[in-house]
């Protein structure tokens, strides 16, 4: 066999051997590149991060505004209702009104918010009633006088009140 033929055979064998060694590496590289490309295309991390930052800011602002408020909805619990009645009783004492009766019932929803109603009958004069109403507006929980009736009389009058208290719903 000629020298050139022998060298050509050797060269071919060397090339095939080298290719056999290097092809798996090449294949691994190609597969990894493909995987990274497919993974990279499904990512939009920057956008999500921006949204999170923005959302944190909005929550902070909302929580701040909630913390700054002085009025709250009364929790829907017996303890809270009793506490509200106690506040009313304290308000009566402070204003000088004399309690005749106090009763509590479930009320109609106001603007879709469930309520309970405290029916109160008191005796007193106009200034005492005004002071009591002022005290009501200063309470922690939102309430509204849905019925106020001052009966005829001389001096101390009988006053009927229905005070609706909106309840906090589970949001």
């Amino acid at each position: 066999m000629k020298l050139s033929s022998q060298i050509a055979i050797t060269a071919t064998a060397v090339i095939i051997g080298a290719a056999g060694l290097l092809y798996p590496i090449h294949q691994s590289i190609t597969e990894l590149e493909s995987e990274i490309e497919s993974l990279g295309s499904s990512s939009a991390a920057d956008d999500v991060q921006e949204q999170i930052v923005s959302m944190h800011a909005q929550i902070a602002a909302a929580e701040s505004s909630l913390e700054e408020r002085t009025l709250f909805l009364c929790p829907d619990s017996s303890a809270a209702r009793l506490q509200f009645e106690s506040s009313l009783t304290a308000g009566l004492v402070e204003s000088g009104l004399q309690r005749v009766s106090i009763d509590r019932t479930d009320g109609s929803p106001i603007h879709g918010i469930s309520t309970f109603v405290v029916e109160l009958v008191v005796e007193g004069d106009a200034s005492q009633l005004h002071e009591f109403l002022l005290g009501l507006e200063g309470l922690r929980w939102v309430n509204r006088v849905i019925h106020l009736e001052v009966h005829p009389g001389l001096g101390r009058r009988t006053v009927e009140m229905k005070i609706a208290v909106p309840l906090e719903a589970d949001l």
Binding site: L21, S43, I59, I113, H130
Partner: protein
């Protein structure tokens, strides 16, 4: 590590001595040992006697086993010259066709028409075989087999017509040529006499049909010879001091080989070695390339794996971020809804202010007997929309949140109807009420016997 520029080892195999020379980085390493019966042993001794490098050798034969002659033949054809040379040796008891290998170098003779100058060399076959066997046993790579006399022409270079004398212990060589081409060679048993040198130079000049200006001499050159050279008009030049063996050095030098006597089997061995060497070089190069590419490939794979891990981590963080975002969104909606509920549940008026406003609006001659305030829901505002379908029936839908109103009913006694009207006008002027109406106002006799005005006023205020 600095690579050395190393020539082959030129080994002269003479009758009773082995000589060797090698050029290593311009420096000449040479050695000489007696040739005993065991050529292999002598060869080993020769190579170990000086710091020779490598196993590649060129062998040059010298002495009784070699015949070198120069002649002029009447043809420029090399085949014809070889035929004539073979004819010349026919019948020779020592160098005939059976006992020796013939080598012929043909060069056109200048100024002699169709004639050629031929150097005929013949080497004894047995001698070559013995040398080859010794070389194989010593694992030496024989690159060529020549005659030492002809190889001595390569020991040093020159230009133009050159005439050289190489003096040895047992034989002297007269060489003549042009540039790097040797055209005449005569080997004479030493020591050569001045007369014989003169005769040889004269013959060379006649065959060469050229003139020589100088004689380049390697070795001793006595006064008698000096005189002879002067007589021929030749300037004598001596070679370098370190060139004590031009034959061995010539064998070690690269250049044209005039007559090669390498046996065919040795040539085949040489080819095989060449192939093996080439294969090894290719395999080594391929292996090195594969290692380099492999290392780079594995580096690339590790980098890509790190990239993949990074992307996967980023995706995991992104997924966690999305979950957190959803939670935050829910939290935000809850906070906002709570704030909206509080605002929605809060009345749009202050009852204390309304009560105070009513009391303050009442003139002095008006006495309120009864006051009723009702916070009521207004009738919802509705729009009529057509249902889709064949009948196209209409349905009512509420628009927006249901508004609320404060309905105030006041009853009492006044001094006059004017006072009642003023009271109603003042209530309306307060801008707290959207509607103020006197429902009834009639004269009545009071308990104290005086007349008064009994009235009922209706007022409505919008709120939230």
């Amino acid at each position: 590590m600095k690579s050395q520029k190393v020539s082959h080892i030129g080994i002269v195999v003479a009758d009773q001595v082995l000589r060797a020379a090698q050029r290593i980085d311009g420096r000449i390493v040479s050695s000489q040992v007696p040739l005993g019966d065991d050529m292999k042993r002598s060869m080993r001794k020769l190579l170990s006697s000086s710091p020779f490098s490598g196993r590649n050798i060129v062998v040059g034969l010298e002495g009784d086993s070699v015949l070198v002659e120069s002649m002029v033949v009447p043809s420029r054809s090399s085949n014809a010259a070889e035929g004539l040379a073979a004819e010349r040796l026919k019948g020779d008891p020592v160098f005939n066709d059976e006992t020796s290998v013939l080598g012929v170098s043909v060069a056109p003779a200048t100024g002699r028409g169709e004639q050629s100058m031929v150097i005929l060399a013949a080497v004894n076959r047995e001698r070559i075989a013995a040398v080859m066997a010794a070389c194989r046993e010593q694992a030496l790579t024989v690159q060529g087999v020549e005659t030492a006399a002809l190889a001595s022409w390569r020991a040093w270079s020159g230009t133009g017509n050159q005439l050289r004398l190489v003096r040895g212990e047992r034989q002297d060589i007269i060489l003549a040529g042009v540039d790097s081409k040797l055209m005449f060679c005569r080997v004479v048993e030493g020591p050569m006499s001045a007369a014989e040198l003169r005769a040889t130079i004269t013959r060379a000049s006649s065959l060469f049909s050229g003139s020589f200006d100088s004689l380049s001499v390697s070795g001793s050159f006595g006064p008698e010879m000096q005189a002879m050279a002067q007589g021929l008009g030749l300037a004598v030049e001596t070679t370098m001091a370190d060139m004590d063996d031009p034959q061995a050095l010539g064998l070690a030098m690269e250049g044209a080989v005039l007559a090669e006597f390498t046996p065919p089997e040795e040539r085949e061995l040489r080819t095989r070695r060449q192939v093996r060497k080439t294969r090894m070089v290719m395999i080594a190069a391929a292996a090195a390339a594969a290692v380099v590419v492999g290392v780079l490939g594995f580096q690339r794979i590790s980098v890509l794996k790190a990239d993949k891990l990074s992307v996967e981590t980023r995706l995991r963080v992104e997924s966690e971020s999305r979950t957190e975002l959803a939670k935050l969104d829910q939290q935000l909606r809850g906070s906002q809804a709570l704030a909206a509920e509080v605002t929605r549940g809060q009345p749009g008026h202050a009852m204390s202010r309304l009560f105070s406003l009513v009391l303050n609006a009442a003139p002095e001659d008006v006495m309120l007997e009864s006051t009723v305030v009702d916070d009521v829901e207004d009738a919802p505002v509705v729009v009529q929309t057509k249902k889709r379908g064949r009948r196209g029936s209409e349905e009512e839908k509420p628009v927006g949140p249901v508004p609320r109103s404060l309905v105030v009913r006041l009853g009492g006694l006044a001094g006059s109807d004017v006072a009642v009207s003023r009271f109603a006008a003042d209530l309306f002027a307060s801008e707290a009420f959207a509607d103020v109406r006197i429902e009834t106002s009639e004269r009545t006799l009071l308990d104290n016997g005086m007349e008064g005005e009994r009235f009922r006023i209706y007022a409505r205020a919008e709120t939230r």
